[in-house]
Amino acid sequence: MLDILKIKDDFPILKSSPHGKKLIYFDNAATTQKPTQVVEAVADYYKKYNANVYRSPHYLSTLSTESYEEARESVKRFINAKTSESIVFTRNATESINFIAYTWGLKHIGEGDVIVLTIAEHHSNILPWQMVAEKKGAKLKYVHLDEDSRLDLDEFKRTISEGHVKLVAVQHASNVLGIINPVDEIIDLSHRNGAKVLIDGAQSIPNMKIDVEKLGCDFYAFSGHKMLGPMGIGVLYIKEDLLDDVPPFLSGGEMIDEVFEDHSTFAPSPLKFEAGTPNVEGAYGLIKAIEYIEGIGLDNILKHEQELTEYALSKLVEIDYVKLYGPKNAENRTGIISFNVLNVHPHDVATILDQDGIAVRSGHHCCQPLMRYLGVPATVRASFYIYNDKSEVDAFVDGLKDVRKWFR
C-alpha cells in the first residue's frame, strides 16, 4: 500500500482548486505532476551549478558537467544498461524515436525492407517510420489486436516470418488502452528473424522496472516528464554493439573530435549523439525523479495503478451508458482507461468533468490509426498515478453520472 497522503504532500500543484473544486488529476499518461524534490532540484541546479558543460576548465563548469554525467549514470543504473555510452539525452521519446529513424533507419533500411508496427502505436512511433519507408522504398506492416484488445501475438509471428523485416518498432504499453505488450517475446522473435527492435517506453517507464540488458532490445525510448521528471528531457538507449552503426543525428558543438574546413571527425559515444548545449537542468531534475520513483518502488507503483484500474472498471461496467475500450480487467495493464459516454462527445465529457475539478483527456490521443481500428473518432481517457486514490475514482464516477444530466 502506498502512503497516498504523504505522497500527495510532495506535489504542491495537487493543492490547486480548479473552478473552486479539489483537483483530481487523471491525465497522468499525458504528463505526471512533479514532486517538490524535482522542482527544487531544477532550481538548485541554477542556484549552485550552472555553467556550460564539458567546455571550460573552471569550477562551475566542472560541477555542471558532473551534474549532467551523474544524471547519465543514474539513468544507466535505472534501466540497467551495460554502459553509460548507451544513454543519450534527447528532448523526449518523440525525439528519441525520430533520432533512430533519421540515423540508423535511413542508413540501414532499404528498398523492399519491412518495418513492423502495431496498430496501437502513438503517432510518434508511426510518422518517423512513414518518413523512412517513403524515402527508402520500405514497407510498413501493422499488427492488430485480438478479441480481448491485446496485441495479437499470432499475427505478429506470421508477420515477422513473412521475411524482409528490418525493424520492429513497438510500444511497451499503450497510451490509450493501457495494455502491456509481450516485449520479451517480440524481441526474441524479431532477433531470431534478423530484425532490430525499438521499444517506445513512454508509458512503461513510469510504472515498470525496465532492464534493457535482460530485454535485449536494440533501442529504448522514453520521456522524463511522464515519470515525475521535468519536461524537455528524454532518453534514447542504444545497445552497445550498435553504437558505431548509428551515425550522429544533429551536428555542431560538443559532438566533434576534430573539425577541418571540409570534413570532421566525431567524439566517442554518447557525446557524438548530443550536439549543442544540452538540457542540464532537466537531466539534473531527472535524477531526483528516478530517486523518488525508486523510493516508492516500481512494483508498488504498477500494483497501485492496477488496483485503481480494477476498482474504476468495476464501477464503470455498472453504468450502461459507458462504453469501455481495452481489456475487461486490470491484469497486465497500466493505469489507463479509455471510454465513451453514449451520445456525448468526449470533449463535452471532459469539459463537464473539468467543472468538477477532474482533469481527463479527450480526443484521439495521437493514435488515429487505433481510433479508426476501434471505430470511434475519439475517446475520453482517465490515467492514474501514485498520488491518486479510490475516493478520487468515486468522485470521477459520480461526475460521469452528472454528464448525462446535460444530454438527453
Binding site: 470533449h347 463535452d348 469539459t351 463537464i352 467543472q355 479527450s362 473518432p377 444530454f407
Partner: protein, 137 residues
Amino acid sequence: MSDLNQLYSEIIMEHYENSPNRRELENPTIKERGHNPLCGDDITLELKMNGDVIEDASFVGHGCAISQASTSMMCDLIKGKNKKEALKLVEKFIDMIHKKDVDLDELGDAQILQGVSDFPARVKCALLAWKTLEKII
C-alpha cells in the same frame, strides 16, 4: 454549474441533437470540409448558391455539442444572405467569441454561444464552421 448551464443551454442542445440543417444538399454549389485535427471535430459544409446569394446551407459530420450546434446555427443565419453579408456575420461571430464588444442581435441563435468565450479550450469548437465558411465565400 452556472457556467455549464450557459455552455449546454436548451437551445444549444436542440441544435446539437435535432438540427434540420444536418443533411446533404442535392446539388451543392460549394462543399468544404473543416476539421480540428487536435480534437477531431469534423464537418462538411454544403452551400447552394444563386449568384451571390446563399440559397441553402447544410452540414454533415461529427464532433462535440459546441461544434455541431454552432454549425447548425450558422446555417440558419446565412440562408438568404449574400456573400458580403455572410462574411460580416462571420466577422461578428468571431469577434463575439474573442470577447469583443459587438451588437449581438444580428447573430440570431448563435449569440447564445457567447458563453463559449469563457471556455478557452472550446473556442476552436465554436469557430470551426465559421472559419470554414470564411475560407470558401
